[in-house]
Symmetry: C4
Subunit: 500 residues, 4 copies
C-alpha cells in the first residue's frame, strides 16, 4: 500500500506546519557562488521587491555557503565581518522589513562544501544561533559527512539531529535537506524536513551529459554536480509522487536567466520544476535580469500550478525511447531525443498537463483522455470515470506570457498601468498596479485567486477537449507545452475518489 491516495489523510500534512506549498525564493549560489556579502543580499532583496517577484511569492532570500568566519570562543557561529559588516541579525531585520523571509546555510558535516564551519555534532547550538539571528529557512548540505552515509538510517539520523534542533528552538524554520538524494530521502524525510534534494547539483545546461554527474537514474551513489535539466527531470520522474504538502522533492535551484540555455529551454526548466512541485528558488543575478528572464519567473499561471493547494506533483504518463546518452561531441550533441507527457490533478478538479520535447526538431505530440486521467482509469475500481465523459476547456499557460515591453518597463522601473489597462475588472484587488500577466499573491493567495477565476492564473483558453478526445500540439525543440484543463461542468459534480 503506497501513499497514492493519501490526499485526505487525517494526520498532519507538514511535520512543522511549514511549506504547505513548495518554497519560493532566491539563493545566491548559482549566480554568485562564494562571492557573498551584505550588499549583495540587500541589493538583491530590494530588487526582488521592486520587480514584483516578492509579490508573486518569491519569499525566501537565502544566503548560501561562504558567509562564515568560523566560531567564537564559545563555539557560536559567526559571520565574516568583512562580508557582513553589520552582522547577520541586522541583515535579517532588513530582509524581514522588506516583507521577505531570511534563509541561511550549513552542512551536516565537519565543514560546509566550501570548507567553512558546519554543524555536524553541534546541531543544537547552531540551530539556536540561527533562530536567534532570525533565520526562517535553513539549507542543510551534505559535504564532509565523516562517512555517515550509505544506509538510510545513518543519513536519517544525521539529518534528524538538525530537524530536532530546529524544532527545539521554537522558531518556525523551514528545513531544506540538501543530501543530493543519497540513501533515498523520499522514503523517510517527510517526517523531519520540508524538502529534500533528490539529485546532484543542477548546472546551466538543458541536456549536456557531464562526467561529474554520472548517474542516469534516482539510484545513485555518486550524485555529483553539473547535472542537466533533463538529467534531473528523468531522475525525478519515478519519485515525484513521494512529495506531499509540507514535504517536497527539491530538483535544485533554478538556472533561468543564467544564459546557458535558450528561452525555450528555460521555459521547460521552469515549467517542469513548477509542475514537479519542486521549490522554486531563483538562481540568477536579479539585478541584471533581462526581460525574457523576468517574464519566465513572473508567469503566475505556472506558479499557480506549483502553489496549488492540492499539492500533487505531476506524473510522467509516457516517454519516448531515449537515444543513448553517451558523451559523444557532435553538432546536436546532447539531444537524447525523448518526448514525454505529464499529467497532474489540481484543486477544484482541474488538471495540468505538459508535453516536453527533448528532441532536436519541433514535433507534434498527442495525448488521449486516457493519458490525462491515467490514474483514474487504472485505479482499481470498477466504477465509471466521469472525467472521460466531460468536455474540458484547455488553457495554454504560456500563451499569456508577459511581453518583453512590459517586462522591460518593470525592469526599468517605469511601468504604469497605462501600459496595460485591460486588467482592472477581474483582478482589481490583486493587480491594481500590475500588468494582467503578473500577480500579487500577498494580496490574493493563489488558492483564492484560482477560486476567483483570476485571469492571470489561467493563461489563455485555446481550445476544448471533447469527451474521450485527444489533445495535440506542436512543441518546439527542447520546448514545453503546458495546459490547464477545466471541466465545462465546473468543479462540482465530479467524482472525488478519496472523498470521505
Amino acid at each position: 500500500l503506497l501513499p497514492a491516495l493519501r490526499g485526505h489523510a487525517a494526520g498532519t500534512s507538514s511535520y512543522n506546519g511549514l511549506a504547505l506549498t513548495p518554497a519560493m525564493g532566491w539563493d545566491n549560489w548559482n549566480a554568485f557562488g562564494c562571492k557573498v556579502s551584505e550588499e549583495l543580499i540587500l541589493t538583491t532583496a530590494q530588487k526582488i521587491v521592486e520587480l514584483g517577484l516578492r509579490d508573486l511569492g518569491y519569499y525566501y532570500i537565502i544566503l548560501d555557503d561562504c558567509w562564515s568566519s568560523g566560531r567564537t570562543s564559545n563555539g557560536t557561529l559567526q559571520a565574516n565581518s568583512t562580508k557582513f559588516p553589520d552582522g547577520i541579525p541586522a541583515v535579517a531585520e532588513k530582509i524581514h522589513g522588506m516583507g521577505l523571509g531570511w534563509g541561511m546555510y550549513s552542512s551536516a558535516g565537519k565543514y560546509t562544501c566550501a570548507q567553512y564551519a558546519a554543524s555536524l555534532g553541534v546541531e543544537k547550538q547552531d540551530a539556536q544561533t540561527f533562530a536567534d539571528w532570525g533565520v526562517d529557512y535553513l539549507k542543510y548540505d551534505n559535504c564532509y559527512n565523516e562517512g555517515q552515509e550509505g544506509t538510510a538510517l545513518v543519513t536519517y539520523n544525521r539529518y534528524k539531529a538538525m530537524s530536532d534542533a530546529l524544532n527545539a528552538t521554537g522558531r518556525p524554520i523551514l528545513y531544506s535537506m540538501c543530501n543530493w538524494g543519497q540513501d533515498s530521502p523520499w522514503d523517510w524525510a517527510q517526517t523531519i524536513a520540508n524538502s529534500w534534494r533528490m539529485s546532484g547539483d543542477v548546472y546551466d545546461s538543458f541536456d549536456r551529459p557531464d562526467s561529474r554527474c554520472p548517474c542516469d537514474t534516482y539510484e545513485c551513489s555518486l550524485p555529483g554536480f553539473h547535472c542537466s535539466v533533463m538529467n534531473i527531470l528523468n531522475k525525478a520522474a519515478p519519485i515525484l509522487n513521494k512529495a506531499q504538502p509540507g514535504a517536497w522533492n527539491d530538483l535544485d535551484m533554478l538556472e533561468v536567466g543564467n544564459s546557458g540555455m535558450t528561452d525555450d529551454e528555460y521555459k521547460t526548466h521552469f515549467s517542469m520544476w513548477a509542475l514537479a512541485k519542486s521549490p522554486l528558488i531563483m538562481g540568477t543575478d536579479v539585478t541584471m535580469m533581462i526581460a525574457e528572464t523576468l517574464s519566465i519567473y513572473s508567469n503566475p499561471a505556472i506558479i499557480a500550478i506549483n502553489q496549488d493547494p492540492l499539492g500533487v506533483p505531476v506524473t510522467r504518463v509516457w516517454q519516448s525511447p531515449a537515444q543513448p546518452q553517451n558523451e559523444t561531441y557532435s553538432v546536436d550533441a546532447y539531444t537524447a531525443g525523448e518526448t514525454s507527457f505529464w499529467t497532474g490533478e489540481l484543486m477544484n478538479g482541474d488538471y495540468v498537463v505538459a508535453f516536453v520535447n527533448g528532441g532536436p526538431k519541433a514535433t507534434t505530440l498527442t495525448a488521449t483522455m486516457n493519458d490525462v486521467f491515467i490514474d483514474l482509469v487504472t485505479t482499481g475500481s470498477n466504477a465509471p470515470v466521469p472525467q472521460l465523459q466531460q468536455t474540458y476547456d484547455v488553457y495554454d499557460l504560456w500563451a499569456n506570457r508577459m511581453s518583453n515591453t512590459t517586462a522591460q518597463a518593470i525592469i526599468n522601473g517605469n511601468f504604469t498601468m497605462e501600459t496595460n489597462s485591460t486588467n482592472t475588472t477581474s483582478e482589481a484587488s490583486a493587480n491594481s498596479t500590475l500588468p494582467m500577466q503578473t500577480y500579487n499573491a500577498t494580496q490574493l493567495s493563489y488558492a483564492d485567486g484560482l477560486n476567483a477565476n483570476n485571469a492571470a492564473l489561467f493563461g489563455i483558453k485555446v481550445k476544448t477537449m471533447a469527451p474521450m478526445g485527444t489533445l495535440s500540439t506542436t512543441v518546439p525543440s527542447h520546448g514545453v507545452a503546458v495546459y490547464r484543463l477545466r471541466s465545462q461542468g465546473g468543479g462540482s459534480g465530479m467524482r472525488k475518489r478519496d472523498e470521505l
Copy 2:
C-alpha cells in the same frame, strides 16, 4: 544448500501455526481506498457469504488504511466514530458471526501510508488492541519508517517487533508483512511472518509500464506503485521458491473485476497469483460484481492449486525473450511479447503447468515432459525419473468455468440447483446447493476434495500426455492455459525424492 527439497522437514512449517495454505479474503483498498466504513465492510461481508465466496475459502475481511481517528489519551488506537459508529469490536463480532475472519491494518512507521496513527515503537500496545478487538489478520505496511530500511537486519528488526507483539497476545493473528520486497524479506521473513509483499503495489493494468514502478526485477530500492500484473509476475519468478507452508510471497491484492483488464488478462492474473501461492485477496467491489468476475474468483479448480497442501509454488521453466520495456506509447503499447511456461508439484504426485502468452497475438506454445519435470531431470541424481515414463491425464482448469448464466443467477440471488442438476453425485456433501463449477470448502476441504476426486477441482479432462510426450496449446493474447496433470498410474508407486 538451498531449501529446494525441504518439503519433508521435521521443523514447524509455520512459525505461528497459521496460513498453512495462502490466505484468502477481501481487502477494500484496491476498489475503495480510503472510503471505508462499517457499512461498506458489513455489506461486503454479507455479499461474500451470499455469493458463495466465503465457502470457496475467501475468509478474511480486511479493513485497510484510513479507519483510525488517532489514539485515546492513554495511547490506545481508536476508530473513526463517524465511519464506524458501532466501533470495531462490534464489526468484528458481526464478521465472526458470518463465519469470516477479521483483518485490520497498520504500518511499521510513524504514520500509515495515508498518514494515520501507526505502530512503530508502540507495537505491544497496538498488538494488544488488535487482539482485544478480535482481529485475526494484520496487514502491516511500510510507510514513514523513519529511515529504518536499507539493510536486512534493520528491516527484520522492525517487522519482528510486531511479530513478537502479536505472538505475545496469545490470539492467533495471521501476520501479513507489507514491505514491498525491500531488503529481501524472502530471505528472512519465514520465521516471523505468514507472508511478505515482494514488490510495489499492483494496479489495474496487465502490462503497462509506469514511471512510478521503475524496477524490472526483484532487486529494487524503489518498489513504487502502479506495477502491472506482468511486472510483478516477472519480479516474482526468481523468488517464488522462497515460500513454504506458513510463509508466502504476497504478489499483492487481486484487481480482478476492476475493469482495467480484459477477461483473458484477469484469468492470467488470477491463475498466476494462485499458482505462485500468493494470498488471494479480492480487491473489487463485490456488491457490484458482474458475472465474468464472479466466475473467475469462483473457479475452484484454480483455487485448489493455490490451496494445495503441498504448498509448492510453480517454477518458470522458460521465458521467451522480452522486448525492451521502454515507455513508448503506441497502439500495442505495453506488450513485452514474452511467453512463458511454468510447472509445479501438487499433492498426490499431480502437477500443475501453465502457459502464459504476454504477446499481442494468439500463439501456440509447446512444452516437453522434460520441461514439466525439469527439477526431477536436473536434480542431481543418477536415478531414473519414473514420471518421464508415465502417461498423464491432462485437465484444463478453465474449461469448466462457471457460465455467465449461472454466475448471474448467483449474483441475482435466484440460483437454484435446478439450474444445474448434474452435480449431485460426486459432490453431494460439499455442493448440494451449488452448481458443479463451484465448491464449498467449509464442508469439504480442498485437500479432502482432491483426495475424493471432487469434479469441481479438476476442470475438464482434455487430453493425455504420453511418456516423453509434449503438451501443446494455443493461448490467446495476454491469456493463460492452466492444466493439471495426473498420472494414469495414480498417486502411488511414484518416486518421491524426499521420502524419508
Copy 3:
C-alpha cells in the same frame, strides 16, 4: 596492493592449519537430498574405499542436512535415531576406521535449510557436540538467518561465531562456509574459514539458465539455486585469485555422474573445479557409479592440479563474447557460445592451461605464450621473462584417462594388475596394485609424486611448445582441453619473481 604476489608470505597460510590444499570427499546432498541414513553413509564410505577413491584423496564423508531430530532437554543436538540407530559417534568411528574423515552439517540460522535445528546463537554448544562426536569437517549453511545478512560485517560476525567455537573445542575441524557468496566472503573469510561457497547451488546442467539462479555475476543479492556449471564458472572467474592455501573458493559439490550432462560436460565441470582450486566433493551415488563416472573422478593428473602445493587458482586470460543468456527455449537452447582460455602456475615452475568451449560446435582454439604467462608479461617489471624463451613439453591431462574396461573392472571388484602391467617401474610404491591411470595419494602425496615425476600425474605428452610459440587444439562442444606445461629446462634456472 592486492594479494597477487603473496605466495611467499611469512604469515600462517591457513588460519587453523587445515586444508592446505582444497578438501576432497563426498557429500550426500546432490544425489540423495534428505534421504540420509547410517546405512547410506557407511555403504558409500565402504565403496569409496573399494573403488580407490579414498586413496586418490577423497577423504571427507559428509553427512548433509536432515540427520537431526532436534535437541535433547539440555539443548544438545541429537541425531534421528531411525536414520542413525547406532548414533553419530558410532558412525564417525567406523568412518575413521576406514581411514576417512567425518563431515557434518549445520546452518548459521534458526533452522537448517530443511528446517531442522541449527546453530545460530548456540555455536559453542553445537561445536562442542560436533567435536565430541568426532567430526572433522563442518559444512555451515545460510538458511533462516534472521536478517543477519546484507553487509559484510553482519555476515562475518555470524560465521565467525562458529569459527571461534570450533577452534575452542581443540579438535581440528575443517570449516566450510556455505553462505552462497553473499556479502563478499572472498574479501574476509580467509582468516575464519577453510572455504566459502561463492554462488548459489549448482545443479545437474551444463549451461541451462534457471529463473531461480537469476544472477550472472559474483555481485548477487539472490544467489538462488539451480545454477549451471557455466553460470558458476563465470561467476568465479573474477574472484578465483582470492583463494590461498587454507582458504578456498567453493564452487559447490560435483554433479559428475548424475546423468544430466554429457561426458564432455562432466569433464569440463570436473576439470575447471579442479583448476579453480575448489574443494572436490563428489555428489553422486558411488554405489551405482558407471565406468565413465569413475574414470573422471579418478583422473590423478587433474586431481594433482587441484592438490598442487602452490595453491594458485587458474586465471581466465580471455573469453569470447558470450551471446545473451536469455531464457529462450530452442534446440540448442542454453549455449552461450563462449570460449575461454585459462592459465595457472604450479609447483616446480610448471603451468596448467585449459581451453573451454561452451559453444555448440567443436572449435579450434589457440593461445600464445603471452597468454600462458600473462601475469609475468604484465607484472610491472622491466626484467625479461625467461619463460617466453623456453621450450615446453605439453602434457594432455585427459589423454591417459582410465579406460572403461579398467574402470568397470574396478567397479566390479575384479581389477588385477595383470589388466595393466606397464605401471610397475616409476610408480612402484604408490601404485603397485593400481592401473597406471590412477594413484594412491595416501602412499605418495601428490607433491611427492610430482617431484618424482610419477607418470599417473602427467597424462600423456602430446607436443612441445617453442619459445614464443602458440598452443592450438580442437575442443569439442561443451568440452575442455587441459594441458600441463613443463619447461624442457626443468624446474631450475627459472626466474622466480617472489623468491626472497
Copy 4:
C-alpha cells in the same frame, strides 16, 4: 551544493597540513613485489638522487609490503633482520640524509596483503613505532579486514583509527589510504587522509581487460587488480573533482618503464595521472632505467601541472563512444576506441588541456574554446566569460621532452652542462647544472618557477588560439597531447569567479 567552487575556502585545506600538492616518490611494489631489502632501498634512493629525480620532486622512498618479521614480545612491529640487517631506523636515517622522505606500509586488516603483521586494532602502537622509526609516509592497505567493509561508516572508522593514531604521535606523516575505492572514500576521506586509492591495482597494460578487475566504473564491490591504465582513468573521471589540496585521488603507482606498454602509452599514463592530480609514485627499477623512461619521469612541464598550487584536477569534457570492452582476443584486442578531451584550471589563470586517443589509429581531435572553458560557460551566471574573448598562447608540454642523448648521459653519470648550454639565462638558479628539459624543484619550487616563467615548465609554444577559436591536433594511437594555455593578456584582468 557540491564543492565545485571551494577554491577559496576559509577552512584548512589539508587535515594535517601535508600534501598540499600530490605526493611524489618511489615505491618498490610494482617492480619488485616482496623482494625487498635494505640494499634495494638504499641503492634505489641513491640512484634517484643521482638521476635528478629527487630534485624534480620525487621525495618519498616507500618500502611496501613484506618488510616485517612480525612483532616483538611486547607487540612492537619488527623488520626482517635478514632483509634489513641494520634495522629500519638506520635505513630511515640514511634516506633522510639523502634529502628524501621515508615511507612505509601496513594494512587496516589482520594481515598485510602478503600476510605479514598488520595494524587493525593496534593502530596506536604501530603508529608510534612508525613515528619512532622516522617514517614520513604511511601507505595503509585493505587486506584481511575482518569484514569491516561494505558501508561507508565501517570503512571510515577503520581508516580513521590509524589517522588519529598518526596524528597523536606528533610526527607529520603523510597518510595514504589504500582501500581501492571501496565504500566511496572520495565522499569522506578528505578529513582523515592525504590520498585514497580509487580503484583496484594498476598493472602494466594500457587497456587490456582482465577478469580480475571486473568493474568498468567507480561503483565497484570487487576492485580487484590487473586494472589497465584506461580502465582506471575511466573510473576516475567522475570523481576527479573530489580531490582538494591535501586530499587526492590516488590512481595507483606508475608503471612507466616496466616494458608492458609503448612509449606513447607511458606518456599517456604519466600525463593523465599528473593531470588527475594523482600522487606520482614511480614503480620501476630505477637502477635499470632506460633513457625513454627517464625522460618521461623527468618532464618538468608535466610535473608542474601535477604540482600546480591551485590543486584542481582536470575534467573530462567529452568522450567518444567506447566500443564494448568484452574480453575477446583479437589482433587489436583491447582497444576500446575511445577518444577524450580534458581540461583544468591552473594558477595564474592558465589552463591545461589534454586529448587522449585510445583508438587503434592516429586521429585528429578538435576542441573548442567552449570545451576548454566548459565550467565557466555553464557556471550558472549571466555574466560574460572573458576567457572566451582572449587569445591564448598554446604550449605543447611534451615538445621539449629531454632527448635520449641527454637522458642517457644522465643515466651514464656523464652529463655536463656543455651538453646543453642554452639554459643558463632563465633558469640560472634552478638549473645551473641541468639540461633545460629538467628542473630542480628543491631550489625553485614549481609555483615559484611558474611565476618566474621558467622555460622548463612550459614545454614549447606551438601555436595561438584566437577568441572563440578551436584547438586541433593529431594524436597517435594510444597517445596523448597535452597543452598549457596562457592568455596573451597575462594573468591579470581576468575574471576570477571565486574571488572574495
